[in-house]
Symmetry: C2
């Protein structure tokens, strides 16, 4: 069955303390070339049947209204995986 993947990240202008802590840990562990880490979410939703344009539109609405908090987060991608 096809899966819709929704990716959500904290807004660029907001602090991301979890990401900041991870950046610090990477630096301490000798991986300082990776920095400004930000941590968001990745949702996988299994869909019944075919992913039509209509279904994808509904998924985008769900991503904006239910899966993310538009005050602090941006939906950065809504994609389809495993559609056969």
């Amino acid at each position: 069955m096809p899966t819709i993947v929704v990716e959500v990240m904290p807004k660029a202008e907001l602090l991301d303390p979890q990401g900041k802590a991870t950046s610090g840990a990477l630096a301490r562990l000798g991986h300082g070339k990776f920095h400004d880490v930000r941590i968001g979410k990745r949702f996988e939703l299994v869909v019944d049947g075919e992913v039509t344009d209509e279904v994808l539109e509904e998924a985008r609405r769900v991503a904006d209204e239910i899966l993310s908090n538009s005050v602090i987060e941006d939906v950065v991608a809504v994609t389809v995986e495993g559609a056969e």
Copy 2:
């Protein structure tokens, strides 16, 4: 500057209570066509300089050893964005 995106999901054989709660909420709100929700993480790491094969290999190691917990999570993707 290029960004490496690391995507981490809970292992398929493990319960994902947060995802289960989200599936329930979607069903109640009339979006039952989306089910079996699973919630993972999406990391963005900014990289100094070019992303060579070596840097990407180091990022994969960081993803496996630091950003994810291999007991309960799988790294599902390590990709490069915004490389110019």
